[in-house]
């Protein structure tokens, strides 16, 4: 804290506080005059949008927790009570429920933007990894939140996902019993999921604080991927990006509100309005849409790998699927060391650009496969798409790093902006 270099504030109250704790100086430095590349496109809105969604989820979640009862006897009914009897309960719940989907929408756009423009490259590797950690925490939080209403999909989703851990050799079954706190998904499981579902968002906040702190050390990447060279290349964060982020956020909120008011159950499953019944399995268990690509990867591994000429299984199809699914996220952590092309932005990488769109298509395909039953053609398509997911990261990106000839980079952000304006 360099309180010696502080610029005094005119307001005496603010000044009194700032002398003792320079919060306002920090805000001014990080969000007021913070120099930000002047050429952001609308894809750069989604960090702010994701932060907004995190705040919405925590705010609505706290009020839902005041009405919710984490007990197998009461959970389903307490959610129905929120929907029917609690003042505005239906609104708070629909905002929370669809908020999870919208949060994932924002984060997916944010991640693909980072991949396309090389935002994960030096010196922003740790920034990227903190983001992937946030994503992982979000997945855990969303999964546990989906269990809380204790409908059929809640129960069977929890059963299938916790059963994944039984694939771990030797200790797998004990781990599953430990996760459950019993011998099946039951009351102890529901209670701990509620406790963790309340805790993890605050862990996410902590990781996001680190994510933003790291961002403010390196500064933002931008659509050219060329670092700002002079003050001509940047504008102060306020009012330029406070305004642009607010505009983007409002558009996003319009879409969000449309879903909440007109199609609040479009992304849910009707089965989850049937109370959980451990004796009857729904005919078709599917996770929420944002997990579908990973669900497809989980199911892509269909053969047991055995020691040749024996029937001793080294990696069962179940374990193989679990390894692939976690590998699909682990590979994201490694991305800064897989794509080492010195050119950040996909705009100046003619080959990378093609592979990026193929990769996006593969991810969407995986989502579509995950939604469908693992039979017939879906199995084959799922396996090809899963293979390509890993080929993209482990083979295509390193090869492009080596052999791709990028286009010439602009000398500076200003030059790129002018050239675009002249066209």
């Amino acid at each position: 804290m360099s309180s010696g270099k502080r610029v005094p504030f005119k307001n005496p109250v603010i000044e009194w506080i700032d002398q003792r704790l320079p919060l306002f100086t920090m805000l001014e430095k990080e969000y007021g005059s913070f120099p930000t590349p002047k050429n952001f496109n609308y894809l750069w809105n989604f960090g702010a949008i994701a932060t907004f969604m995190l705040a919405v989820m925590i705010a609505t979640g706290i009020f839902l927790a005041m009405e919710y009862t984490p007990s197998t006897d009461h959970a389903f009914n307490s959610v129905e009570r929120i929907m029917r009897d609690v003042n505005w309960g239906w609104l708070i719940r629909y905002v929370h429920m669809n908020g999870a989907s919208m949060f994932f929408v924002a984060v997916f756009v944010h991640m693909f933007r980072g991949m396309y423009y090389g935002s994960f490259k030096a010196p922003r590797e740790l920034l990227w990894m903190l983001g992937v950690a946030t994503f992982l925490l979000m997945m855990a939080t969303a999964f546990m939140g989906y269990v809380l209403p204790w409908g059929q999909m809640s129960f069977w989703g929890a059963t299938v996902i916790t059963n994944l851990f039984s694939a771990i050799p030797v200790i797998g079954d004990d781990i599953v019993i430990w996760l459950w706190g019993g011998f099946s998904v039951d009351n102890p499981t529901l209670n701990r999921f509620f406790a963790l579902h309340y805790l993890l968002p605050f862990v996410i906040v902590a990781v996001v604080v680190l994510h933003v702190a790291a961002l403010h050390v390196s500064g933002s990447n931008n659509p050219t991927g060329v670092e700002p060279k002079s003050s001509k290349d940047t504008v102060p964060f306020h009012p330029y990006y406070t305004a642009k982020d607010s505009f983007g956020l409002l558009i996003f909120i319009i879409v969000y509100a449309a879903v909440v008011f007109w199609a609040p159950n479009s992304m849910g499953h009707p089965d989850n309005y049937t109370p959980a019944n451990p004796m009857v399995t729904p005919a078709h268990i599917v996770p929420e849409w944002y997990f579908l690509p990973f669900y497809a990867i989980l199911r892509a591994f269909t053969i047991d790998i055995t020691i040749p000429f024996t029937s001793i299984v080294v990696i069962s199809s179940k374990l193989g699927g679990v390894i692939l699914m976690f590998g699909a996220i682990a590979v994201l952590f490694l991305l800064p060391w897989l794509d080492r092309s010195p050119v950040r932005s996909g705009t100046y990488r003619p080959l990378f650009k093609i592979f990026f769109w193929v990769f996006l298509a593969v991810c969407i395909t995986l989502g579509w496969v995950g939604k469908n039953p693992p039979e017939g053609i879906y199995v084959i398509i799922g396996q090809i798409a899963t293979a390509w997911y890993f080929i993209h990261f482990l083979i295509v990106l390193p090869l492009l790093t080596k052999y791709e000839k990028p286009l010439p980079l602009p000398a500076s952000i200003s030059e790129a902006v002018k050239r675009k304006g002249a066209r």
């Binding site: 430990w178 011998f183 451990p278 078709h284």
Partner: protein, 236 residues
């Protein structure tokens, strides 16, 4: 150090020179002046305030030992504190107390099934017909994905030394992803092997509950159970 005295005067021009009454001259700060290597470390002469070695050289080995042993003790302590927290998440005494289920089978006629709950999971108890038993026993081991004889699967079904292979007892949870297979009711689909059919991903189990077709890796699990008399069974 006495006021007004320079470092050189104080320590006699350098640490390596033995000095009489050095403690007095340096105000007690000089310590083991004769052993020190302050010239190497700080490049300064004497025992002045800049000299890092006034208190003697660090015994690196001793310090490592202390750091490692203290760290190890701390680690053991942390683990000892963590264990009650971790173990609290394992099944509690009341959950374990419900770990056995007793069922009266006197009303289950031949060809009928009963589903009961054990440890929160469905358990299938089937009073098999002679035809089903024969079918199960006629299968060659080579045809099975998870080879196990029917005799082996019902070996716990006995009372007073008498085998009762008509009673098939299994956990009704598909070994693929945990769904509950169909086949307990006469109107349910039974698959191609006169047993159970899992609607989730199409696994088919035979009349001994062994996996015959579909993605499930193993046979339906047989829980530990025993007959307490000819018509009562205790599961778990």
């Amino acid at each position: 150090m006495k006021p007004g005295m320079s470092d050189d005067e104080c320590c006699g021009g350098g640490c390596h020179e033995p000095l009489v009454a050095k403690k007095e001259c340096c105000g007690g700060d000089c310590g083991n002046c004769e052993n020190c290597d302050c010239n190497k470390k700080s490049g300064k002469q004497g025992c002045g305030p800049d000299c890092k070695c006034a208190r003697g050289a660090v015994d690196a080995e001793r310090r490592d030992f202390l750091v490692l042993t203290a760290g190890a003790m701390g680690g053991v302590g942390a683990a000892a504190v963590a264990w009650p927290l971790i173990h609290s998440m394992n099944p509690a005494a009341d959950v374990l107390a419900l770990a056995t289920t007793e069922v009266d089978l006197s009303q289950v006629k031949e060809g009928q099934s009963l589903t009961t709950v054990w440890r929160g999971k469905p358990v299938f108890i089937r009073h098999r017909t002679q035809k089903e038993i024969e079918e199960a026993r006629a299968v060659a081991m080579g045809d099975l994905k998870d080879p196990q004889s029917d005799e082996d699967r019902v070996k716990q079904s006995k009372f007073n030394g008498q085998d009762m292979p008509q009673w098939l007892v299994m956990v009704g949870v598909c070994t693929h992803l945990g769904c509950v297979p169909l086949g307990q009711k006469p109107t349910d689909p039974h698959g191609d092997y006169d047993g159970w059919f899992c609607p989730c991903h199409g696994s088919q189990y035979d009349s001994s509950g062994r996996i015959r077709k579909g993605p499930a890796p193993t046979n339906l699990e047989v829980p530990p159970y025993q007959f307490t008399d000819a018509t009562h069974i205790k599961i778990g």
